[in-house]
């Protein structure tokens, strides 16, 4: 059982990392690692800022032919 659970957890980790879903958690962890009480953006505000950054410089995240 624990083997299956471990495999599922691993799959979940990869999917979240690969899709970019983990970006917010990473941002919060990063901010809190320096100051546990740091003010962080809400998920909504963070995701907005993240997409809007591509607006400002479309070269980020460009994909090839």
């Amino acid at each position: 059982m624990s083997g299956v659970r471990e495999a599922l957890a691993k799959a979940r980790y990869y999917v979240r990392e690969f899709s970019g879903e983990a970006a917010y958690d990473r941002y919060v962890a990063h901010a809190r690692s320096h100051d546990p009480d740091a003010e962080v953006l809400t998920r909504r505000a963070f995701e907005r800022a993240r997409t809007d950054a591509r607006e400002a410089d479309p070269r980020e995240g460009f994909r090839c032919c």
């Binding site: 941002y27 990063h30 460009f62 994909r63």
Partner: protein
């Protein structure tokens, strides 16, 4: 300033893991080499008989394994001297957002998804007109010695420069002239690239109500996903992607219903109408906010891309189809093939860019990926490894193109001027090439995938879709599923081509705004709407022009434009390899400069020969100006020359040939400018090494412990265990000894 020798610890560890192969690993590598050699042997010795695609896979995979294990390791350890004690930008500048050390297995996926697109699926299909062997040899040899090397070395140097872009590195390391030439090259290439990709889609969707309906549905699906992520549940990318993919599959199935219904007429569009829709879409998509259309489309196309490529690999292995195309056709030596003109050298090497050597990858390798890499030692698996994977995709495209009947291949890929409009005329034309196929068989092939016609569906996508539907339907669903799989494949290619059209227009616009900003300051402000609209309109107008021309050209748009796209892509590779070679020389690695210098020399020979032939050849099928003269003389004499049908079309040919010819000259000049400037800098660096100024970020100590390859070695596992980390690696409190 010559590069300091890597520190003692690195050399020791590198020595410990590479020195002295164990008998077991010697046996394994001898076996791998044998598999590859047998694969190549069967490919080379087969004369006339049909062979299994398994041999192609064996040859490719065996060669990749050897190239990765030995050549990429040599480049990493001896040439680049990657340093595991040196902190990467991701570690030094970690901000948790764009700079952050990323699990190498995740980054491999990101990098692969960013470099692999429609390119490796299109070029190899077109090149199959010369048989499967020339294309396969170039894909495999090209990736091992040129393409993967370029990606890896660019990634390495950009990582040492905080993720600077190729253009910035060209300016910093070569100079303002070379830098400016590189910038112009990127812009012009982008325009041609977008036009050719859009043309591929227009050719696949023309008169196909099923295709138009399903692709059209991706717009509302993407808008819904965008709204969901922005308003309903921000950041829940996985769930919205799953919903999106489900809707997408529904759209493909519904396309079949629509095609059978009375609505079919509404979605049956000719090429000219599709061009107008494409241009309108391209403009609107690029001025809408990223979150509405681009971001959700990106998620959708990445999911589809990775999923379909994995499925295809499994399908090929299970179905093991037989290659029906000859290994080398007569077109290879005669150079008069209908898909593209010109002989094997240089045109196979121009036609297959992505999958063997693609300049565009240098833009991805310098930019996003270097900001996320945990360890310098990982440039090997990410730069070299991901490119090998893309090359494998290209090999699968060759397989898809070569398992369908050769007669069908040529009927699908020849311009309308060659095969005519009916199955009878097409059968006759193709039989004339030496590949017999009956009119009934052509009609049946179209009926199988529920299209009205497959004739002259040039551009590679429909051919690839035919091959893929043949493979998939032999594994799942049988002949009844052929139409579904065909449209699935078309959807899959159209999806990421449309994403590229949107993203590429934005990049072109950004570059244009940046340049125009030097003249009129407001242009630099990317939130200044008139500037955005004007620059977008210019970029869309640019590729829209070539797209229109490609559809109208009686000689066939793909036939005329694809060589230009290939030359442009190889030109960008020349820029990247020139920057890499210059950096090797400047950083005191002169004796290893051949590692990128030889592929550069080859690439320049190919590109300049192709440009020379495109400009000066007296054969009007190859030389643009010879073509122009032929048709101009015809106009002067009041004659109509086939395949033009009237004087208007004669004028179209004259205008197109002139524009294409001028572009060929421009590309050749740009290459020469970059090369001369790079050579000047190299000579200076060799003469006076003490005066060399490198822009490299100084060494600082890394505290990250992470394996170099996808799978940790026993020694790396011990290091991870000692630091109390899992297989993903991470930061330690103590400095790495």
């Amino acid at each position: 300033m010559p590069e300091p020798e890597a520190t003692g610890t690195t050399r020791d560890t590198a020595g410990a893991s590479s020195g002295g192969l164990s008998p077991k690993s010697i046996a394994v590598w001898v076996l791998v080499a044998l598999i590859g050699a047998i694969g190549w042997g069967v490919l080379a010795l087969s004369r006339g008989e049909e062979i299994s695609a398994a041999w192609l896979l064996a040859a490719a995979l065996g060669s990749y394994a050897i190239g990765y294990r030995f050549y990429s390791r040599f480049i990493a350890d001896r040439v680049l001297r990657v340093d595991k004690t040196r902190a990467t930008p991701a570690e030094r500048l970690d901000n948790g957002v764009d700079f952050h050390p990323t699990d190498r297995r995740v980054l491999f996926g990101h990098h692969f998804a960013a470099v692999a697109g429609a390119g490796p699926l299109v070029g190899p299909v077109l090149a199959s007109q010369m048989g499967y062997l020339p294309g396969t040899i170039w894909i495999v040899a090209g990736v091992i010695f040129a393409g993967a090397v370029q990606d890896m070395v660019t990634l390495f140097f950009s990582t040492r420069r905080n993720g600077r872009s190729l253009g910035q590195m060209a300016r910093d390391e070569i100079g303002p002239v070379g830098g400016a030439a590189a910038l112009v090259a990127v812009f012009v290439i982008m325009i041609i690239l977008l036009a050719v990709l859009a043309l591929v889609i227009v050719n696949a969707l023309a008169d196909s109500p099923w295709g138009v309906f399903s692709i059209g549905m991706t717009i509302p699906i993407a808008l819904f996903m965008g709204f969901y992520l922005r308003v309903l549940r921000p950041g829940r990318i996985t769930e919205v992607s799953l919903i999106g993919v489900a809707l997408l599959l529904l759209a493909i199935i519904a396309g079949g219903w629509v095609a059978d219904s009375s609505f079919a007429g509404v979605f049956t569009l000719d090429k000219q109408t599709l061009v107008i829709w494409m241009v309108a879409y391209g403009f609107l998509a690029s001025v809408l906010p990223v979150w509405m259309l681009l971001a959700p489309r990106d998620y959708l196309s990445t999911f589809m891309k990775v999923g379909t490529i994995a499925l295809l690999a499994v399908g090929v292995v299970i179905a093991m189809p037989v290659l029906k195309m000859p290994s080398v056709t007569d077109f290879a030596s005669r150079g008069d093939g209908p898909v593209f003109s010109g002989s094997m050298f240089p045109f196979v090497f121009i036609t297959i860019a992505c999958g063997a050597l693609s300049g565009f990858h240098a833009l991805v390798s310098s930019g996003t990926t270097p900001k996320m890499i945990q360890k310098e030692t990982q440039v090997r698996v990410i730069g070299y490894g991901a490119m090998l994977t893309e090359s494998f995709v290209a090999v699968m495209a060759v397989i898809a193109a070569c398992i369908i009947e050769p007669g069908l291949f040529f009927a699908v890929n020849s311009p309308a001027g060659v095969v005519g409009a009916t199955v009878e005329s097409a059968s006759q034309a193709v039989t004339h090439f030496g590949f017999a196929i009956s009119p009934e068989a052509l009609a049946q092939a179209a009926k199988d995938v529920e299209e009205t016609t497959l004739l002259s569906r040039t551009g590679g996508a429909p051919t690839f879709a035919l091959g893929m539907s043949q493979i998939f339907s032999s594994v799942i669903g049988g002949a009844g599923m052929k139409a579904f799989w065909y449209h699935f494949a078309i959807m899959f290619e159209a999806l990421f081509i449309l994403t590229t059209v949107d993203a590429g227009t934005r990049v072109g616009r950004f570059m244009l705004q940046d340049t125009l900003g030097n003249v009129h300051k407001s242009f630099k402000d990317v939130s200044w709407k008139p500037g955005v609209w004007i620059a977008s309109a210019v970029v869309v107008g640019g590729w829209g022009y070539f797209l229109w021309v490609g559809v109208e050209d009686p000689l066939g748009g793909i036939n005329q434009l694809f060589p230009l796209f290939g030359i442009a892509n190889q030109l960008l590779a020349a820029v990247a390899l020139a920057v890499c070679t210059t950096l090797l020389v400047k950083s005191g690695r002169l004796k290893w400069a051949w590692v990128t210098g030889l592929p550069l020399a080859w690439d320049v020979a190919v590109t300049l020969t192709a440009s020379y032939q495109k400009v000066f050849s007296e054969n009007p099928k190859i030389g643009f100006f010879a073509q122009r003269d032929l048709y101009q003389d015809g106009i002067d004499a009041g004659k109509v020359i086939k395949p033009a049908k009237n004087l208007d079309q004669m004028h179209t040919v004259v205008t197109n040939a002139t524009v294409d010819g001028v572009l060929s000259v421009l590309f050749a000049l740009l290459i020469v400018v970059v090369l001369v400037d790079a050579a000047r800098v190299c000579v200076k660096a060799v003469r006076a090494p003490q005066d060399v100024a490198l822009t490299e970020v100084p060494w600082s100590e890394s505290r990250i412990v992470a394996p170099a390859g996808l799978i940790a070695t026993p020694e790396e596992r011990r290091e991870l265990a000692a630091a109390g980390l899992d297989s993903g690696g991470g930061k330690t409190k103590e400095p790495v000894a």
